[in-house]
């Protein structure tokens, strides 16, 4: 009988830890809500639609930061999706085995670089390049668009989006690559046997079969882009503004927290910043849950049919 009790004790001892994890996530939510209570109480839902950010008058609105996060994440996805999915198809289908292996190692390397080093590279390499070459070029030839007008500082929405794109591309590649490799080769072979070219096979077989998985990868990457802090903080210019010009300095939810948290002088200021964290938390939970459900639905569906 002693054996049974020792087993039970061990089981319940271990059971504490998964419960601890559930409690931890609930605790994060609870703490974020209760610590931003002051700001929630004072500004209510207007917090999300107010465009002023005035620590002196204690009037806080998150709109410029939400705008910055949305713009940079969207642009980053716009750049990262073609390059990421394209590279993934190349690596999975057309690259010689050795080349594919080497490039995959490099992609892993890229994923292991911390964001503060991307930021460092951004400040000293990307921003000067944007200031002296890329943005004047864009302004000259595409300046009739409202996106490419205005003063050119180098730092701003466009530079931050490029850095973000570089950071999320490895995610998109590694997940998409696995999804593409998982497509049964019979499908591709039958497509080729019917005389389809590689381009047609990519369109009809690879993309249509892998689309759910790739979509999941993109949503995961979006979650990553929304929460990315350091690299963006270092090159977005840190100025709360809502403009159509991508050259102008901006601000994001994560970077305002990073920059101003330890300087927040009043309680309302601090709780407004914590409410930004709450917004980030909720958005990232929703995005990740979506991606996860999507990926799960794909994998379970396939395990049923196979």
């Amino acid at each position: 009988m002693r054996k049974d009790t020792s087993d039970l004790v061990f089981k319940y001892f271990l059971a504490v830890f998964p419960c601890l994890i559930l409690l931890l996530v609930a605790g994060i939510l609870y703490q974020l809500v209760s610590s931003s209570g002051l700001s929630i109480h004072k500004f209510g839902f207007k917090f999300l639609s107010n465009r002023t950010w005035d620590p002196v008058a204690e009037d806080f609105g998150a709109l410029p930061f939400i705008f910055g996060t949305c713009v940079t994440s969207f642009l980053a996805l716009l750049m990262a999706i073609p390059i990421g999915v394209g590279s993934a198809i190349y690596l999975a289908e057309y690259a010689p085995a050795k080349v594919s292996k080497v490039i995959s190692i490099f992609v892993d390397l890229l994923a292991a670089i911390p964001s503060v080093i991307y930021g460092l590279w951004g400040i000293f390499v990307l921003v000067p390049l944007m200031r002296t070459h890329v943005q004047p070029f864009l302004g000259k030839y595409l300046g009739f668009l409202p996106f490419f007008q205005g003063p050119n500082y180098g730092v701003g929405f466009l530079s931050a989006s490029i850095i973000l794109a570089i950071i999320i591309v490895p995610f998109i590649i590694s997940i998409s690559r696995e999804v593409i490799l998982a497509i049964p080769s019979v499908y591709k072979e039958s497509s080729y046997a019917l005389g389809a070219t590689r381009w047609e096979t990519i369109q009809l077989i690879i993309l249509s079969h892998a689309q759910a998985g790739i979509f999941g990868a993109i949503i995961l990457a979006l979650g990553r882009a929304i929460g990315e802090t350091m690299a963006v903080t270092m090159i977005i210019g840190n100025n709360p503004s809502i403009t159509s010009s991508l050259f102008s300095p901006g601000y994001t939810l994560a970077s305002v927290v990073a920059n101003e948290f330890s300087e927040a002088t009043s309680k309302t200021y601090l709780s407004a910043l914590i409410e930004m964290g709450l917004v980030l938390f909720v958005v990232s939970i929703v995005v990740n849950a979506l991606a996860r459900l999507l990926i799960w639905s794909v994998t379970t569906r396939e395990s049923v049919t196979v």
């Binding site: 504490v16 994890i21 394209g86 292991a112 390499v125 590689r198």
Partner: protein, 293 residues
């Protein structure tokens, strides 16, 4: 007449199709090439700017006051190691135990709930963990501290460690467990003496990968470990960390500090890559162990 037209049209589409067939592979190659080009740009800049600034002083000296040239990041390097040690202390036991429970005991629905929570937790922005650690540790203690920084990094490790532990424990063949149980051992002895030792290589790999990921984290340390320009041996005081130092030097206006930021970046990259190499080592050992059986 009609056949002629058809032939011509057929030839035209054929040419177009073959052109697209060739072109798309080049386009795809270009995608991969752009990526490699960026990676090389980052690495060459790191090496060119960083290596020239690395010397013995960098590893043994404290940062010099503003305006004085020289000095190093000795305190930041040891600070990062201290924080990582604390992170392992906070994160690994919880992750390990939870992972074992999920595979060995948990019923299906509970396990799914926990797995889902872990996946979602993995996607929470690191700065949110920083805020959480600030509210939980820094506010009550009324001081930025080593402890709160280690706590923030530790809870970030939990989802990754849990997930990999569960995966590798699941790979242990059931015959091994049954053999243990048949010899009359209680289940907990089977887990401690058979399941854990045979999956330890994989579990270590998971821990190393998680460690490498938090080693470069800056955002959760900004208002927990906070940074420090001097030595600190007190867990209740702020401490320097490499990523923090790189950040504050990079955005500073001083040439000499920029130089040191690059040097710090090289050291940080080397630390992270060596942790990853260690992960590979454990993985290979695991393969040898399994093949040897």
């Amino acid at each position: 007449m009609q056949t002629m037209d058809f032939d011509k049209a057929f030839q035209r589409t054929k040419a177009k199709r073959y052109f697209m067939d060739q072109a798309i592979v080049y386009v795809l190659f270009l995608c991969a090439f752009v990526l490699l080009f960026i990676l090389f740009s980052i690495l060459t800049h790191l090496v060119i700017n960083g290596v020239s600034s690395i010397n013995v002083n960098f590893f043994i000296h404290l940062p010099k006051p503003v305006g004085e040239v020289g000095g190093g990041m000795a305190n930041a390097i040891t600070g990062t190691l201290t924080l990582l040690f604390l992170a392992v202390l906070f994160g690994v036991p919880i992750g390990l135990a939870a992972g074992i429970y999920l595979n060995e005991y948990a019923d299906y629905r509970f396990a799914q709930v926990v797995r889902f929570t872990i996946d979602v937790m993995n996607g929470i922005p690191s700065i949110v963990f920083g805020i959480f650690a600030y509210v939980i540790c820094v506010l009550p203690m009324k001081t930025f501290s080593v402890l709160s920084g280690g706590f923030a990094l530790g809870i970030m490790m939990i989802p990754m460690v849990t997930r990999t532990t569960e995966q590798f424990v699941r790979m242990v063949p059931n015959q091994l467990r049954e053999a243990g149980l048949a010899l009359g051992a209680p289940k907990w002895r089977v887990i401690v003496d058979i399941v854990l030792p045979s999956s330890i290589g994989g579990i270590m790999t998971g821990i190393m990968v998680a460690l490498a990921r938090v080693a470069g984290e800056t955002a959760p340390l900004l208002f927990t470990a906070f940074g420090n320009r001097f030595w600190n041996h007190n867990l209740m005081q702020p401490i320097a960390a490499l990523p923090l130092q790189i950040f504050s030097y990079a955005i500073s206006p001083f040439e000499d500090w920029h130089r040191q930021a690059w040097a710090g970046a090289i050291v940080l990259i080397v630390v992270i890559f060596s942790i990853n190499l260690l992960a590979n080592y454990f993985m290979n050992r695991r393969h040898r162990f399994l093949n040897g059986q």
